[in-house]
Amino acid sequence: MTYSSFFYSEILAIFRRKQDAVNALVFFLLVITLFPLGVSPSKEFLQPAAGGIIWCAVALAVLMSVEGMFKEDYNDGSLEQLVVSGLYLPVLVLLKLAVHWFAIMLPLLVLTPILSQMLFINWEILWVLILTLILGSPALFLIGTIGAALTVSLRRGAVLMLLIILPFYLPVIIFSTGAIAAAQVGQPYNGQLAILGAISLMTLTLSPIMAAVSIKASVN
Amino acid sequence: MAFESINEFISMGTHGPYVWSVYGISLILLLGSYFASVKAKKNQIKRLKQRYLREQKS
């Protein structure tokens, strides 16, 4: 096994399981529909809440799809093989994550403009939303990976994983919705964006190593 | 004909962009479904034919 053969096989696996990416997308759409139906369909409610709704939906969709990232590898023994492959585990985690980010986030970004119309977001605000998504979503994936690695050996990891990880998502969600809310009332929002980027960068250095440690502990 | 001229037909009052984009998108989706289905059938037939011929030879 080499880094490139690992990377290639990850891409292949994503292609084989492309329905998974579609599922994440439809799930995203579904969660967004839940709010108008469950709470209120009026513009007065939806417009101010839109940033929060979209970010909650993104967080859930990312979490749900990251959750299973190592499951299959664990069950079929590939994870063990990665550990003994002699390759540097954090790099493998990062490669896997990059592939997942592309597969999940790109379609999601494409869908966002349409959905923001349904939640009455203005075109100007849309750009802020997309910026927060691009800057913040890496953090979602990176944090999620740690949870996925920790819960991989549990058969019923989904709820537990949500539990462990959601609190760590809160800062990302708060700063993102903060930026959007600021933009909606015409205030500057560069500060929030900078913090989002900083969180992503920080998790980028930290999370692959933590995930690798967790994987090594899970495989036994 | 409900329209005086071809230009008027295209502009549809002020609603031209709406009407024509709807029909454009619908046309693409319908044609897409049509060609995808026809092509899938042709491909399957071709694949089976090759397989049967190969089987007959061996």
Partner: protein, 248 residues
């Protein structure tokens, strides 16, 4: 009532040959009606006194909306047939029609959204009718997702049948709940249910294009089902004979 045709439809071979005969017929008739209906509606029907020319979107909007619902009904019935009588063609039908239904729902949604902009001033409002089409689309995506996610064909067949049957029973509930929901939360500002008494010159092309859409989709569905039959029955002698002798 003669039910023989129904039982025969359960036989892939019989269906394949039946579809060979009728699919082209349905396609040609459907296409002609669709083209005539739409051309009539676009070019010759009078403009609506309220909405002006934007109402011409109706000739694609209503056919696709009706088809989206009919296809889902079809899925449900096929699911029931598949679970109760284990008819071989039923899962084939579901697999072939679900994506078409989803496309129809998408066309209804897109055309409605674009129509909404000049008429209501918004691309989207959370109106009961609109929302129920959106949910219908989500239901289709569910069927498609489960079909594609399960590798085992028999399991996938059972799964889509189960989901379709559950959907069949729940669809009225969903529709009713959504309608009820909207009337409670929000006074219906825009009703698309109240029919404007449509003059004949508007209504006839609508009928034509709707019937045409039925024919068009039926033909495509038959081809897709034939493809699926070829995939599933490729080891049977009649498929071999059909392909080698008739050169289809």
């Amino acid at each position: 009532m003669n039910w023989i045709w129904f039982h025969k439809l359960g036989s892939p071979k019989w269906f394949f040959q039946w579809a060979n005969k009728w699919s082209k017929f349905a396609f040609v008739i459907g296409l002609v009606m669709l083209v005539v209906g739409i051309a009539w509606g676009l070019g010759f029907a009078p403009a609506d006194y309220q909405q002006g020319n934007s109402f011409r979107i109706i000739y694609i909007h209503v056919p696709s909306a009706i088809l989206a619902q009919s296809c889902y009904l079809g899925l449900g019935v096929a699911g029931l047939v598949s679970l109760v009588w284990r008819m071989k063609m039923a899962p084939v039908f579901i697999k072939a029609v679900a994506p078409l239904g989803a496309v129809m729902a998408v066309i209804a949604l897109i055309s409605g959204a674009i129509w909404g902009k000049p008429t209501w001033g918004a691309w989207w409002v959370w109106d009961a009718r609109l929302t129920s089409v959106l949910i219908l689309f989500l239901l289709y995506m569910g069927v498609i997702a489960i079909q594609n996610s399960l590798d085992d064909m028999q399991l996938a067949d059972k799964a889509v049948a189960v989901i379709s049957v559950v959907g069949l029973i729940n669809l009225p509930i969903i529709k009713y709940s959504v309608e009820w929901w909207n009337t409670l939360h929000q006074p219906a500002t825009f009703t698309i249910t109240a029919k404007p008494a449509m003059p004949m010159e508007m209504w006839l092309p609508l009928l034509l294009s709707t019937l045409g859409m039925y024919g068009f989709i039926a033909a495509i569905a038959m081809w897709r089902m034939q493809t699926e039959v070829l995939v599933r029955e490729h080891r049977s002698n009649w498929v071999k004979k059909e392909i080698l002798d008739n050169g289809i």
